[in-house]
Each structure stands twice: as C-alpha cells, then as structure tokens.
C-alpha cells in the first residue's frame, strides 16, 4: 500500500477497509485451509489404518495389556516372570531405560566435569589431551561407539572361569559385570534412620553456620563438617550395631558366578559409550559456562580482596550455573533418548522390549507406539517445564 494516496476521502477509506478486510479474510482462509488439510490427512490415515487392521484381524485397543506376554527378559530391575502381563513388560522397559539414563548421567557428568576443567587448564599438554578427547569422541557417531564397545570389548571378555577380577567381589567376564549385593540384617533399619538423621543434622548445621556468619561474621566450615558428620556418625552406628549389613559376594561355582548382583555386558557397553559420548558435550558446556563469567568479575573480586573460595562460591559459580544448567539438562534428556540405541546390542530397554519385541509378538502396533511415544513425551515435556521454572527464577533482573 503506497504511503501517498491521492484518492478522495471516501475512496481512501473504502480502500483501507478493503485491505484490512482482505488481510483478515486471508488469515482466516489460510487457517481454515491448514486445519482442513492437517485434520483431513489425519482422518484419511486413520481410516486407512482401521481398514488395514480389520483386514489383518488386529484391534487397536489397549485390552492386550492384561494378556500374558509369553517371553523372557534378560535383565529386569523389578521382578518379572515369563508369564507376566504386557503391562508389566512396559514397566520393566521403563525401569531399565531409567536405570541406564541415571547411571549414564552420573558418569557422564563426572567425566564431563573433569574433561571440561582440563580443557580450561593452564597446562598446555593437559589442554591438548582434553581437546583431542573431545574432538575424537564427539565426531564419531554414538551408535558406532556403542557397537564398538560391545563387540570390541565387553563381548570379548573371557569366560567366567578366566574372569578379570578388579577387586575382591568386582568381576568382569563375558556374561557381565558382577558386584556384591548388599544384604540387610537386623538393625539395618536403625542404621538407615541414623543416616537420615545425620543428613538432616548436616543440613541443620549448615543453616546454623549461615546464621552465625550473618550475626558475627565468623565463618564455620559447615560443608566439610557436614560431610564428616554424614560419614562418621553412620560408620560409628554401623560398628556399634554389630555391622548389620553383609555382602553377598559373587563366587565362582562351576562354570558360572553365583550370588551378588550383575549387569549384562550390553548394559556395560551402553553405559560406557553413553557416558563417554555425552561427557564431551558436558565438557564443552562446563567450559563455556565458566568462560561466560567475564574476566572483569574476577578482577573486581580480586581488587576487593575477596578470598578465592568465596569468589568461586558467591561470584563465579552463581553466574556460571545460569549458563550451564539449561544445556546440561538438555544433554540429560539426550542421554535418556539415546538409551533407546540399546536395541542395537540387545539390552532390554523400553524400545527394545516394548516397541520391538512386544509389538512383534502382539501385533498391537498403534497402542504400543502410542505408549512409547507417550513415555518419552512425558519425560521431555515435564523436564522442559521444570527448566522454564528454573530459568524464570534465576533470570538476572534487568530494566
């Protein structure tokens, strides 16, 4: 619409109203068309599906969840028997996925922190080692790494009779990684209560120390003391109560190890590959978070003579965390999604056990896929929601 119009008043007004009318009409028409197109396509797809399902004598309801699944699962966190229902299989899959995710997240974070700090180091060689590690592991596909660790390492471990024994009770062989299982005995419940009380006590100490700092200015090493309390007190209780925790150590009997707990080699390969791969991204996140705190902040804290530990705690970390936490959580979500690659090496995570095996056995494609997608969507969206709350809270207050 040209800015200079030589039309008469009524002409200009009708032209203007026509243009407005046009834009609004255009918008409505476009939206209606889009709606019709998308919903129409969905209806067409659904119709096809209904027809095809009927032709194959399958149904699309959730009734099959009560039916017995009829297959075994190699590794389960919750008890599972071969005759259990499909619904139980679903939960087994979820628990396995979450187990992989949590363990991998822990290792990846620790490794990522170390590598990230190494990358920032003043020492040139350490910096080079860290950079090479990051570049190599980051530019190789994750699936490649998983398969390499599985077929190249964990599957080539010796048979149980020739196991690699790391410590007494930590055993690696081609059937898995064996650890001692904790066996609670009488008095264990009391020990747990003591532990809980110590933790609460440590927190209370920390709060008290903060108040004291405000009132008198004297600092108290509450973090170190707190850690000491949480370690020493339960240990004393443990001794006093007559050691109410014994360990079921895996022992070689015949051709196999008996006792203790174990995880299959596929689990080990998955954890190692996921941790190593994700640690590269976490290292870069940590590095950029720390580097995001401008040098001027450190100089100001230095010029003020703020002690180094307080500079870290009150100046650097709060600002670095704002930058680190959102992408870090996003990486944690990636770990959870990447755990689905377990299917390539046969570890029974949710996708492998539910979207693959159960789908093939029962043929109930639609409910199974919907439940799988539903699980991942639920995890992703709830974590995103929490992130939004966090971001709003720590936002720097500006004009």
């Amino acid at each position: 619409m040209a800015i200079t119009e030589t039309g008469r008043n009524s002409d200009a007004r009708s032209r203007f109203s026509r243009a407005l009318y046009d834009a609004r009409i255009r918008a409505i028409v476009l939206q209606v068309l889009t709606f019709v197109l998308v919903v129409g396509t969905l209806i067409w797809l659904t119709n096809n599906t209904m027809v095809n399902l009927q032709a194959r004598n399958m149904s699309a309801d959730f009734g099959f969840l009560d039916v017995s699944a009829g297959f075994g699962i190699g590794f389960t966190l919750i008890p599972y028997q071969e005759g259990d229902t499909y619904l139980r299989v679903f939960f087994v899959g979820i628990m396995n996925t979450l187990l992989v995710a949590v363990v991998a997240i822990v290792f990846a974070t620790i490794l990522g922190l170390i590598v990230g700090l190494a990358r920032l180091s003043n020492n040139w060689i350490i910096g080079v080692v860290a950079r090479s590690y990051i570049e190599v592991m980051r530019n190789t596909p994750l699936l490649l790494q998983i398969i390499a660790w599985y077929f190249g390492v964990f599957n080539l471990l010796p048979r149980p009779r020739d196991s690699v024994e790391i410590l007494n009770g930590l055993v690696l062989n081609n059937r898995g990684f064996y650890l001692p299982a904790p066996v609670p005995e009488t008095g264990f419940a009391i020990l747990m209560w003591v532990l809980l009380t110590s933790v609460i006590g440590a927190i209370a100490l920390h709060i008290w120390a903060g108040r004291r700092l405000e009132k008198t200015g004297k600092a108290f090493p509450s973090i170190l003391s707190g850690i000491a309390i949480v370690i020493v007190v339960p240990t004393l209780a443990y001794a006093f109560l007559g050691q109410p925790l014994s360990w079921d150590v895996p022992v070689l009997q015949g051709f196999n190890y008996v006792g203790g707990m174990s995880v299959p080699p596929s689990f080990c390969a998955l954890i190692v590959a996921l941790s190593v791969y994700t640690s590269c991204f976490i290292a870069e996140i940590v590095r950029s978070g720390i580097q995001s705190v401008s040098k001027g902040q450190l100089e100001a804290a230095g010029a003020l003579n703020l002690p180094a530990n307080w500079t870290l705690r009150r100046v650097v970390l709060p600002q670095a965390m704002r930058v680190i936490i959102p992408p870090l959580i996003s990486q944690y979500l990636n770990v959870t999604k990447n755990s689905s690659l377990a299917i390539a090496i046969g570890f029974p995570d949710l996708v492998s056990v539910w979207m693959n095996t159960s789908l093939n056995q029962s043929g109930r494609a639609i409910p199974i896929v919907a439940m799988t997608m539903g699980f991942y969507c639920a995890v992703s969206l709830s974590v995103s929601a929490i992130m939004n709350v966090y971001n709003k809270r720590v936002q720097l207050k500006e004009r």
Binding site: L304, P307, R322
Partner: protein
C-alpha cells in the same frame, strides 16, 4: 623500604607483554593524601601501570612498594597488597546477580569477617555518600551507567582502602552521567583520600590533582602541576596531546 609518608613508591618499573615492551623504566612516588592524574594517548600503558600496582598485572623488572609492602613480581602476595588498595573499573564490574547492597557487603562480610548488620550499616553510609542510598535493594542491571559506577565506588570504599585507583572511570558513560560520578570523586578527593586516576577528564584534573603525569609509549614523558602542565607543556609530545583533547 618506603620513605616516611610515601604511600606508593615505584622505581624503574618494566613490563613486557610477550615481546612487547609496554612499560619502560617507570618511576613514580606518591605521598599520603596526594592525587595523581595519569593521562596520555591510548596504548601508552597508563592502565597497565595502575593494574601493576594492585597486581592485576605482574611486572618483570623494577620494584613497586605500597604502604611498606613490596609487590611481588610473581604475584604471590596479592592479598596483602590489595587489602590497602581499592579499584574502580571502566566497565564497573558490579556483580549482576547480587543487589546493590549485597555487592557492597559481600567482601566485608566474607573477607573481613564482619557481621551482616554492621556491614550493611557501613554500606548504607557509603551508598548515601555517593548519593544512591535509595537504590540499595535494586540490581545493577536495573540502574543507569552513572548509578552503577557510583555503586562501584561505594563498594570499593566499603573495604576501607588507603589508596583508590581509578581506571578511566567515566569513559564508558554517556555524557550526561559523567558529572555525577566526577562529583563523587571530587568529594572523595577533598576528604583526603590518596588517589591515582587514569582519565581524560581534564576539568576534573585541574580541580583536584596535585600532579599530572603524561605517559606515551610506555614511558612517563612529563610530570607537573596541573596548571603548569596545561598551559606550559615542556615536551612536543605533551603539547601535541593537549592540542587534541583541549
């Protein structure tokens, strides 16, 4: 060892950035209560000089003695040195995640072991002195540049320095805010604080300075009283510089 009354004694200071000789045989002597202005073209080493005094930069040759304490060339005794010096930066460097009041009380509470109430009282005194007491609970990014710089000055004063260093404190400010910061600095000077100020604000220099130092290419070209310097520069370089800024 410093002579009596000498706050800062710099003798034949030399510094290199890599192979670049950035400070050449700089010598300087500041008595208690004196106000020095350092001016010169950009790249002359003025900021580097004052950053060497509180060990934000380390020097390779020469000696710096601050209130009886020799500044270690390898930077190992910075806590002792910095406890005597306060610094105000060109970019304010306030802590954006803390309120104005918390910015000022952070070091007294955690570094000087002061109770919170006492630290806040002292902070409010200084904040009132710089005219910003009503903004005490606001956050730095909610304030204007001039207000932020005044907070920075108050924050530095809260740790009771004997010497105040200013590194181009008004260069990052919009023109209408320069005056409010300079007024605070004038009041500080009239209160007897020992000050070294790197600045281009010549009006301020005339008002407050005991000595003006002109630096060029890492060396002190001339040192003089402000009036003498501005009307009768001794060297061609100084005259050239003055003709550009006055």
């Amino acid at each position: 060892m410093t002579k009596p009354g000498r706050m800062i004694e710099i003798v034949k200071l030399n510094k290199w950035f890599g192979q670049f000789h950035v400070l050449k045989d700089v010598s300087l002597s500041v008595r208690e209560g004196e106000k020095f202005i350092i001016c010169g073209p950009s790249g002359s080493g003025k900021s580097t000089l004052i950053r060497c005094i509180n060990q934000l930069e380390t020097h390779q040759e020469g000696s710096i003695v601050v209130d009886g304490v020799e500044v270690d060339p390898k930077g190992r005794n910075h806590r002792e040195v910095r406890s005597r010096i306060g610094m105000v930066f060109q970019n304010f460097n306030l802590f954006p995640h803390l309120s104005v009041l918390d910015n000022c009380t952070l070091t007294p509470r955690l570094g000087l072991e002061m109770p919170k109430a006492e630290a806040e009282e002292i902070a409010m005194t200084h904040l009132s002195r710089v005219g910003i007491a009503e903004q005490a609970l606001k956050y730095p990014l909610q304030l204007s540049g001039g207000q932020q710089q005044r907070v920075a000055i108050a924050r530095a004063l809260c740790v009771k320095p004997k010497i105040m260093l200013f590194d181009e404190p008004t260069s990052a400010l919009d023109p209408e805010m320069i005056k409010e910061v300079l007024d605070v600095m004038v009041e500080l000077a009239e209160g007897g604080m020992t000050m070294i100020c790197v600045t281009h604000e010549m009006g301020f220099a005339r008002q407050v300075a005991d000595k003006v130092i002109f630096m060029d290419q890492g060396e002190i070209v001339e040192t003089n009283e402000p009036n003498a310097f501005f009307s009768n520069p001794r060297f061609d370089r100084s005259a050239d510089f003055l003709s550009h800024i006055l």
